[in-house]
Each structure stands twice: as structure tokens, then as C-alpha cells.
């Protein structure tokens, strides 16, 4: 079977096959089947001359899953399966879960390791010392950053065409959002647990400005992201707060802040824009979904 796969010219039908096999994996839980298929993929990817890539960062995970052939994906970071923060968490379950440390990467010998620019510094250095190619992705702070990163990953996995498709998809969402722009330049504060505020240099801020909203972080005295006190928020009183969770449940004391009575009084559900965390935590293909969601939320609260 392995031999026969290699023998056939793969590029033309690989995509269709991948989809079929992905569906097959979803249906069967057989370890042997999975292992066998991974072997098959690996062989196929090598045959196609495309690099095999491992990701140790939740944001590069998303880019990789969107742009690479399944066969190219050696493994993903542990957080790739986190349903709250990882956009493609369901799909991530079909790939190997890496420890995020250097050891399994050295064993698996991917052609490229993609990583964040700030996290896992020691791991990245160790891998580089071992002669491994490590591609580092900075945190995307603007829409341009995002497009650039999509294209970069597309080049890296050998599918620049798919990258262009994703960029076009994002552009289309931006156009849609600009058409549905808010009636007034409301001041919106993007607020996370413990009072973390996304500043001007964040993707969230970029999303707000596309829809004609302004980031209230600036008037809280900070253009970059950081913690804001509850009192400062209440005193500044932005028009809306943008949060990731609309439930009335606090999983820990950090998220309890968002349900503090002081905030609940000023920001009932009609004053809260809710965009799930997995749409905003990274800059990547999910941003078109994030924009659509933001437009929908604006409509909900009557903005």
C-alpha cells in the first residue's frame, strides 16, 4: 500500500485523498489505522517534496492547519486542542499532540518547526543548536501583519495559492464589515480576565477600527495593552466592553472580575460585545469570522 501510494503521482489527487482520509480518521478510532495513515501521509509528503512542519505555538497551529496538507503536519502544540482558545480545536485532534518541549521534536525530525517569537525561548534555542530550522512568528498586531503571516506560512509549507485564498477571504470580510460600519464611533474597551485591556497595537483594536469603533484603552492612559483597574474603567466609562464570554459563570477569580457588580451595573448584556476568545487570540484565518461576529454583535446591541 505504502509503495503503491508513492508510485502514483500524488499532487493532483492528494487534496481529495486527504479529505477522505481525514473523514476516515474521524470515524475510526483504531490506533493502528491512524499510525498507518500517518506513515502513509509522511511518505506522501516526502514524495511531493513538501516540508514536514511541526508547530509549538497555538497561533502557528492555526496557520499551519489552514494552509498545509495534513500529511505535512508533524504535530501541534498542546493548546491546539483547547476548545476555548484554539479556533481549529476539533481538527487539531486528528494530529499528533506535541509536548511543546524539544525532545519529541528531535525524535520526529520535522523539516521546519514553527514557533512564536516570545514563548519557549529555551526550546527554540536548543532546537537551533541541534541544527533544526525554526521559523518564528511575531504576534500579529495589525491586519497587515496578519496577511503577511498568512503568506509567510503559505510559502513555508509550499502552498502560496492557499495563502492568497485566505487573504482574499479576510479582505472580503473587511469589506463586509466596512459596509455594516457602526452608526457612531462608539468607544469600546476590549477587556479580559483580571482587567487586561487590549491596547492600540492589538488585533482586537484593528478589528474595532474596521467597524468604525474606537479603542477606549487610549483614554485609560495606555496605548499598549496592560492591566486596568476596575475603578479606572468605571470612571472612564466606555460605551461598550468587548469580552470573550457571555456566560454568568466565573471559572476563577480572574474571570470573576468581569462579573463584578460594578461592571454588571454599567454593562448589562446589551452593553457587552461578545467575541469568543478563539477568534481573537491569534492573528490568522479566523479573523474573517471574528469580523463577521463583531458585526453581528453590533447589530444585536443596536449599534
Amino acid at each position: 500500500m505504502v509503495g503503491s501510494v508513492i508510485a502514483m503521482p500524488p499532487v493532483a489527487w492528494s487534496h481529495r485523498l486527504c479529505k477522505a482520509i481525514r473523514a476516515c480518521i474521524r470515524r475510526s478510532n483504531g490506533v493502528f489505522v491512524v499510525a498507518f495513515l500517518i506513515l502513509t501521509f509522511a511518505a506522501q509528503a516526502q514524495a511531493a517534496g513538501l516540508p514536514r512542519v511541526a508547530s509549538i505555538n497555538v497561533c502557528t497551529d492555526q496557520l499551519l492547519m489552514t494552509l498545509a496538507d495534513p500529511a505535512q503536519i508533524v504535530g501541534l502544540s498542546p493548546y491546539a486542542r483547547d476548545a476555548v482558545r484554539s479556533w481549529a480545536a476539533a481538527e487539531a485532534r486528528t494530529y499528533r499532540r506535541l509536548s511543546g518541549e524539544a525532545e519529541d521534536l528531535l525524535m520526529l525530525k520535522p523539516d521546519v518547526v514553527v514557533a512564536g517569537l516570545y514563548m519557549k525561548r529555551a526550546t527554540r534555542q536548543l532546537l537551533k543548536r541541534q541544527g533544526m530550522r525554526v521559523a518564528e512568528f511575531d504576534i500579529a498586531r495589525s491586519i497587515d501583519d496578519v496577511k503577511e503571516q498568512i503568506r509567510r506560512m503559505g510559502d513555508l509549507v509550499g502552498h502560496p495559492d492557499r495563502a492568497e485564498t485566505q487573504v482574499a477571504r479576510l479582505d472580503a470580510a473587511i469589506v463586509r464589515a466596512k459596509q455594516a460600519v457602526a452608526r457612531k464611533p462608539y468607544r469600546v474597551l476590549a477587556l479580559s480576565r483580571r482587567g487586561w485591556v487590549s491596547g492600540d497595537d492589538s488585533i482586537t483594536s484593528a478589528l474595532l477600527s474596521i467597524t468604525g469603533l474606537s479603542n477606549a484603552a487610549a483614554s485609560l492612559g495606555s496605548h499598549s495593552s496592560g492591566f486596568a483597574t476596575l475603578e479606572a474603567i468605571v470612571a472612564d466609562r466606555p460605551d461598550f466592553i468587548l469580552i470573550s464570554d457571555g456566560r454568568d459563570v466565573a471559572d476563577d477569580e480572574g474571570s470573576a472580575l468581569l462579573l463584578h457588580p460594578a461592571l454588571e451595573k454599567l454593562y448589562p448584556p446589551s452593553r457587552r460585545l461578545i467575541i469568543p476568545e478563539d477568534l481573537t487570540v491569534c492573528g490568522g484565518p479566523m479573523l474573517s469570522d471574528a469580523l463577521d461576529r463583531l458585526v453581528a454583535e453590533l447589530k444585536r446591541v443596536g449599534g
Binding site: Y79, R194, F227, T229, E231, P261
Partner: protein, 316 residues
């Protein structure tokens, strides 16, 4: 109390604060004073008071000036109980499950400690056992947070181990206050028995004090109070140790008479510490537990120097 209401990131004049407290001022001012600063001040007072009271009660029970909830690992154990409930998942941190778990854990820790130490516990054994329990509880708290799927574990661990009153709300007050009041009532109702205990357990028993039951009540009172406090504010240490000592030069050594002043001193201490963390300029919020430890630990060392003879002899 007024200072606590008056101080915060947003500058309000004392007049504006008073005005807002009684329903005047702008809506924002009212929210800042009534919903943000008032619950924080109330919790500071209540938690400080119960910690001071618990310290005085434990010192009375064990006839030992170095006894205190934090040295015995009670707050750390309570934090572990609370964190365990959070880690099990699906539970809102504002539900009563949290203080109940904290209370059970605090009760277990003090009970185990006194069981280990035995009837005529020496200072050294108590402190060593307390150290062991608090280290174990601290490690268990960290591990539980790490094992839970919460990616913000590091920050949350700091909260539980150091304690903070920041941005608490009236929901937190409602969560903690019933337990704190119950704990305080239990401890206060036993205060005269603590005085009788200054003659030793045998004499106290011969005076009609059921020493075994007194221990259980004292542990229960401390566990209720400390557990309720920890469930909303994390493990704030050393208030219980310091407060009775501050009052002894003024009130004398009578364990019963010391209890109310210790509670007041504890309330004042914690409130002052909580005001101080808001005044100290810093890039991120300082945890109030850090400050109480900064004050409490040198004080504890000073006490050890003073009690060195008793410690060296191994008898208390």
C-alpha cells in the same frame, strides 16, 4: 475605614466619597464607592478581624504566643480546598461550594496539626508540623492549578497563595461574611474557657472546662472564619500572629480579654495593609498578602528570638 473608601486609582475628595456613600454624587462615583471600595473595605475589616480573633483564640488554646492560623497552615490548606473545587470544574467561584471546601480543608489541617502535636505540644513540634502542612498545602494548590486546564494558572496561584482584596464585590462579602460571623461567634463564646486554660489543661478540666470539646470548637471556629476569609481573599498570612501581640502591652495577657482587641487590631492591620498596597506605586498590583508577610515574618523572627529559651528547651 474612611481612608479605605477614599483611596483608589480614581481620585475622589473625601466629601465626594461621603456623598457617594449615601447615595449622592454621580452614578460613576456611587459605583466606585459603593460597589468597588465599600465591599473591599468591609472584607478587609471582617477578614482582618477574624484572623486577629483566630490568632488570639489559638494562642489562648495552646497557651503559646507563637500560635497563629498561618503558622499552622490553615489558610494555605483552605486555599487548597477552594482551588480543588475550582479545578474539579463547572463551579462558579462565587458559589458557596468554595467557602465550604475551604472550611473543610482548614478544619482538617488544624485538626491534623493538633492531633500530630498531641496534648502537651511543644512549640517546636507545633511550628514544624505547621510548616509541613502549609508547605504541603501550598504545593498541592500549585499542582492543582497546574493540572487544571486553566492557562492562567500562574497568576491564579499567586492570588490563592498570597491573598488579595482587589476588586471584590458584595457577592464576595455575602459569601464570606456568614461564615466569618459564625466563626467569630464560636470563638467569642469560648473566650472565658481560654482564660481557664492558662492554668493548664488539667486544671481547666477540673474547673469544669471540657478541654477536648473546647479544642474541637476552637478548631471549628478558626476553620469557619479562616475558610470563609480565604475563599474570597486567598491566604492572607500573619495578621493572626501579629494582632494579639500588638494588643498585649495595652490590654495585658488575659486570653479572654485579648480577643476583641485582637480582632480590632487585625481589622485595622489588614485595612492599613490594603490601603498601603494601593498607595505604593507599582506597575502591577501588589498582593496584600505580600505586605502582611513582609511585616509578619520579621515580627515572627523577633518573637522567636524572644522565645528562644522556651524553643531551645523544647517545652512550652
Amino acid at each position: 475605614m474612611l481612608a479605605s473608601l477614599g483611596i483608589g486609582p480614581v481620585k475622589l475628595s473625601p466629601v465626594a466619597v461621603l456623598d457617594a456613600l449615601f447615595g449622592g454624587g454621580s452614578e460613576v462615583q456611587r459605583i466606585i464607592v459603593q460597589d468597588i471600595r465599600l465591599p473591599r473595605a468591609i472584607l478587609g475589616l471582617a477578614i482582618g478581624a477574624i484572623l486577629g480573633l483566630s490568632g488570639a483564640a489559638l494562642q489562648g488554646l495552646l497557651r503559646n504566643p507563637l500560635a497563629s492560623p498561618s503558622l499552622f497552615g490553615a489558610p494555605q490548606a483552605a486555599a487548597f480546598g477552594a482551588v480543588l473545587v475550582i479545578a474539579l470544574g463547572g463551579i462558579d467561584v462565587r458559589s458557596f461550594a468554595l467557602p465550604v471546601a475551604a472550611i473543610v480543608a482548614a478544619f482538617a489541617s488544624v485538626f491534623v496539626l493538633l492531633a500530630i502535636a498531641g496534648r502537651n505540644a511543644s512549640l517546636l513540634i507545633l511550628i514544624l508540623a505547621g510548616l509541613a502542612i502549609s508547605s504541603l498545602a501550598g504545593a498541592a494548590t500549585s499542582l492543582t492549578m497546574n493540572l487544571s486546564r486553566n492557562p492562567f494558572a500562574a497568576l491564579e496561584i499567586a492570588f490563592w497563595l498570597l491573598g488579595s482584596l482587589e476588586d471584590r464585590s458584595f457577592r464576595h462579602v455575602m459569601l464570606a461574611l456568614p461564615f466569618i460571623i459564625a466563626g467569630a461567634a464560636i470563638l467569642m463564646s469560648r473566650r472565658h474557657a481560654f482564660r481557664a486554660l492558662s492554668l493548664g489543661e488539667e486544671s481547666a478540666q477540673s474547673l469544669g472546662v471540657d478541654v477536648g470539646r473546647l479544642r474541637l470548637w476552637a478548631i471549628l471556629g478558626v476553620a469557619l472564619g479562616v475558610g470563609g476569609a480565604v475563599a474570597v481573599a486567598g491566604a492572607i498570612g500573619f495578621i493572626g500572629l501579629v494582632a494579639p501581640h500588638l494588643m498585649r502591652p495595652l490590654i495585658g495577657y488575659d486570653p479572654a480579654r485579648l480577643m476583641v482587641p485582637s480582632a480590632l487590631a487585625g481589622a485595622a492591620l489588614l485595612l492599613a495593609a490594603d490601603i498601603a498596597v494601593r498607595l505604593i506605586p507599582s506597575t502591577s498590583d501588589i498582593k496584600v498578602g505580600v505586605l502582611t508577610a513582609l511585616i509578619g515574618v520579621p515580627f515572627f523572627l523577633y518573637l522567636i528570638v524572644r522565645e528562644r529559651r522556651a524553643l531551645g528547651g523544647g517545652i512550652a
